[in-house]
Subunit: 126 residues, 2 copies
DNA sequence: TCTTTATTGACAATATATTGCCAGTAGTAT
DNA sequence: ATACTACTGGCAATATATTGTCAATAAAGA
C-alpha cells in the first residue's frame, strides 16, 4: 500500500464524516464534500470511501431498503442505533438500546446481534 | 384489470407464501415454487409478485442491506419483527416488540415507526 | 371440444450502482 | 523548484436487478 497523500478531496470527505450526526451514503458524501470542492467527482468518493474502509477508519452501515452508508469506526464501535427521517431522508445516530430482546427469540434460535431503526421526523422537519 | 386466472404458477407462489415462516425474496420464491413447477421463469415470479402486491394480497418488507422481500398482507398487518439467520440467510417472523422506544428518541424528533431485525442462528442452523 | 385471451418464459433491453481505464493534476520529498 | 508518482475525474465498461417484447401455451367459458 503506497503512502497516503493529504489531498483536499480526502480532507473534505473526512470532514463530512466528522461533522455528521449519522451515517452517510455515497451520494450524501458527494454532495457534502462538494461544498468545499465543487469539482469533486463521484468516482473519487467511491475510491476514498473504499480506502478509508479498508484502513478501518470508517465502517459500513446497512439500513432497510437503502444502499450502504458509512460512519466513523469510532462511532460504529460503540453500540448504537439509527433514526430515519422520512421527510428529509437523513439518518441520525441514537444512543441507548431497548432491553429484553432475548425473550423475543423463538425456541432453539440463538441471538447474536440486532439492528433497530426508528423512523419519523427529525427536529428540522418536525 | 382482466380476470385473474388460476394458473399453477400463481398457486405455487401463493403456496410458498402460505408455508413460509418469514418474508421471502424474489429468488427464494423462485426456488421454492420451482419445487412444484421446474420450468418456472424468474420473469413470471416478478410478474406475479407485483400483481399480488397491487391487489393487496402481499406487502413488501425492507431488511437491512438486502433487496426487498414480501410477505402475506395478513401477516404484515399485525405488527411484528424479523430474525435473520446469518448461516442460511433466511428471515423469520418474530412476535412481540421491545418497549420504551420513545425514550431513545432525541429531543425535537417525532417517532412514527420502528423496525427491528434480530440476527443469529435459526433452530436448524444452531 | 373449441374459442378466446390472459399468462408464460426466453431473451433482449433498460435502470442503477459500482468499477476499470487513463491522461492530466497535484502532493511529497529531494 | 524539480522529479516522482499517487491521486483525480471523466467516460466507458461491468455487475446486478428489474422490466419490455412477443410467440407459444394454457385457463375459462361457450
Amino acid at each position: 500500500m503506497p503512502p497516503q497523500r493529504q489531498t483536499k478531496q480526502l480532507q473534505a470527505i473526512r470532514n463530512a464524516f466528522k461533522e455528521s450526526r449519522g451515517p452517510l451514503s455515497i451520494d450524501e458524501l458527494h454532495t457534502l464534500a462538494r461544498d468545499s470542492i465543487d469539482s469533486l467527482g463521484l468516482r473519487t468518493v467511491y475510491r476514498i470511501v473504499r480506502r478509508l474502509q479498508e484502513e478501518g477508519e470508517i465502517a459500513s452501515v446497512q439500513v432497510p431498503g437503502k444502499s450502504d452508508r458509512y460512519e466513523l469506526a469510532s462511532v460504529a464501535s460503540s453500540h448504537h442505533h439509527h433514526f430515519h427521517c422520512t421527510a428529509c431522508d437523513r439518518y441520525f445516530d441514537i444512543q441507548g438500546c431497548p432491553g429484553g430482546l432475548e425473550k423475543l427469540v423463538p425456541n432453539g434460535f440463538t441471538l447474536e446481534d440486532h439492528d433497530l431503526t426508528l423512523s419519523g421526523l427529525c427536529a428540522s422537519c418536525a
